[in-house]
Amino acid sequence: MPFVNWLKRHLVVIAGLVTLGYLLLPNVIVTVFSFNKPKGRFNYEWQQFSTDAWKDPCGVADMCGSLSLSLQIAVWATVGATVLGTMIAFALVRYRFRARGAVNSLIFLPMAMPEVVMAASLLTLFLNMGAQLGFWTILIAHIMFCLSFVVTAVKARVMSMDPRLEEAARDLYAGPVQTFVRVTLPIAAPGIAAGALLSFALSFDDFIITNFNAGSTVTFPMFVWGSAQRGTPVQINVIGTAMFLVAVLFVLFSMVVSNRRTRQKA
């Protein structure tokens, strides 16, 4: 009986931990196997502990090149989609123009459409235009599908913003530019940041659309896919683990900063 009571009291915590485990288990496997020393070309069975792959992360031909390309594309796609998406979001919330309704719903189409359909039609478009497939076509495609996520995130933020705040700024001697930089932008910032983070993650790991429109260019997801046909080098797990760590550190850092800020204030 005491056990049942204990279970009742801690059910929420247990459910939370189980769910967390479910979410994190794949990451744990990736990390563990980054220290493996596989016998053959495939890193699917645990053999023995080794730090070889960590000592030489770029030891696999072409992998670090594709990684750097993916990072570049992700950065530029994030910048492009965030700037355009933020402007679209402001326009949709603040102004009443003729095609507003249409734009408002069309902007969500890339989120709803199956990626493979979008990839194929983009390829058709690029081929008909005679565009050279490669870095630029990938970038254009990525900006396109990231846009809708940025617009959604920023729009929610701008809509909940009190228009009186900007009036107050103008009332307190801030001209249009100052009002935007000092009040509008900082308040919309969390939405913009959320949109930018989503864009980066989506662009970095996109495979389907990139694969259709890359020509002979190879991004990191394409490299992983390609090498999985012939054998999976341990370095892939190293890169995966490193990215996971970077993300975790990023979250921890922002938590520490906001904690310190609230403690200072109190």
């Binding site: 009186r164 009036e167 103008r170 307190l172 308040i187 204030k265």
Partner: protein
């Protein structure tokens, strides 16, 4: 003789605002003298906030001009006007702490050393301790004071207050009314205060402009408006009035004799804002607290010189300092009487026959061609 500084005068000339076919503010003229505490009073949607926003520059007037002292500011953007606003929602910047909120205006004008001024201003509104908190960490009353400090630190020629106390509870509102009045006396800046709360307008302002449906109905000191209302709207919106439909019987020596409900009432001609002709209609009004209540058995003791009306008590509510009676009479249903609880007559209970009597000097006359219920607060407005 001292020359009065008129650089803080606000002069509105023929200023009006229309949105498409809807007229929010009919062209109006208004002068607010330097250093005064001026209130724009009216129900929601009467155009008072629009008028305020036109002074602030947040709304472009459809017609007319706005002058600050000798300067025509009609077409200046808000950030170029020496005017600051305290918004109804306070509109504190959520991403800045209290110090930076208050320093905002100074910084935008390129003033580098703001610390001393901001600290002083925070002391004035008694928030020195809270300088490094974010707005959401403060209570409503504290946020309100930050909003006032943020505006006042710029030493505007005019401070505009848009329902600044609307979001506070009753007790805090009373406290802030006194606080705002104190600050206004201390800094000597012209305050223009928009409110729908007639009590707030009367306790704080030197001059009140009562607005209704985009027009100024009447302008004057609170006592003047209360004692001598010129329209039914003012009579009903500021406090409570008993209005009786009457017929002019005769006019003699500055007094008008009117007939209402079979009796005769006296009305000083000077207190009648409507033109009257014998046989014509007029609305006769009297405030509930001016009326004395006597049981019908004591009717003989009432002086002949007083106006009197007979009726029957239908309701009485004991408030503490006073008792409020509702009396039905042939002259007017639902007559309201507020009696001080000095000596309570135990016979004055619902159902009792009574005589209401008051001095003719407390009677006022209004044009009968108006809605007799204009400005009567409905339950819905009370809740809002």
């Amino acid at each position: 003789m001292m020359t009065t500084d008129s650089s803080g005068d606000v002069r509105l000339s023929g200023i009006g605002k229309t949105y498409g076919s809807f007229t929010a503010v009919h062209p109006l003229d208004l002068t607010v003298p330097q250093g005064s505490f001026f209130a724009l009073l009216g129900a929601s949607g009467c155009g008072k906030t629009t008028t305020l926003r036109m002074i602030a520059g947040l709304e472009e007037p459809s017609s007319g001009t706005v002058h600050l002292g000798d300067q025509d500011v009609t077409h200046l953007p808000p950030y170029k006007r020496p005017v600051n606003t305290v918004f109804q929602s306070y509109a504190l910047f959520p991403h800045l702490d209290i110090f930076e909120n208050v320093a905002f205006g100074l910084r935008r004008r390129g003033i580098k050393s703001v610390k001393k001024q901001v600290d002083e201003m925070l002391e004035l509104v008694q928030l020195g301790e809270q300088a490094r908190k974010k707005p959401h960490q403060l209570s409503g009353g504290q946020q309100q004071r930050v909003a006032v400090a943020r505006a006042l630190i710029n030493h505007p020629k005019v401070l505009l207050l848009d329902e600044p106390l609307g979001a506070l509870d009753l007790k805090l509102r009373r406290q802030m009314q006194l606080e705002l009045k104190r600050i206004q006396t201390e800094v000597g800046i012209t305050f223009i205060h928009v409110t729908h709360d007639q009590e707030e307008a009367m306790t704080m302002a030197d001059t009140v402009a009562v607005m209704n449906a985009g027009r100024v109905e009447q302008l004057g000191s609170p006592t003047d408006l209360y004692e001598n209302p010129q329209t039914t709207f003012v009579a009903n919106f500021l406090g409570t009035s008993n209005l009786i439909e009457a017929e002019v019987d005769s006019k003699t020596g500055g007094e008008i004799v009117v007939r209402a409900g079979g009796g005769k009432l006296l009305l000083p001609e000077a207190r009648c804002s409507a033109s009257t002709t014998t046989g014509g209609k007029v609305l006769v009004g009297v405030r509930p607290e001016k009326i004395s209540l006597a049981h019908a058995d004591d009717a003989g003791e009432i002086s002949e010189a007083r106006n009197r009306i007979t009726g029957k008590i239908v309701d009485s509510s004991f408030i503490g300092v006073s008792t409020q009676y509702v009396v039905d009479s042939p002259a007017c249903p639902g007559f309201e009487v507020y009696a001080q609880n000095i000596d309570r007559d135990p016979r004055l209970v619902p159902g009792a026959e009574v005589v209401l009597h008051w001095s003719p000097a407390h009677t006022f006359g209004l044009d009968a061609a108006q809605d007799i219920d204009a400005g009567v607060e409905t339950v819905e407005e009370e809740a809002a």
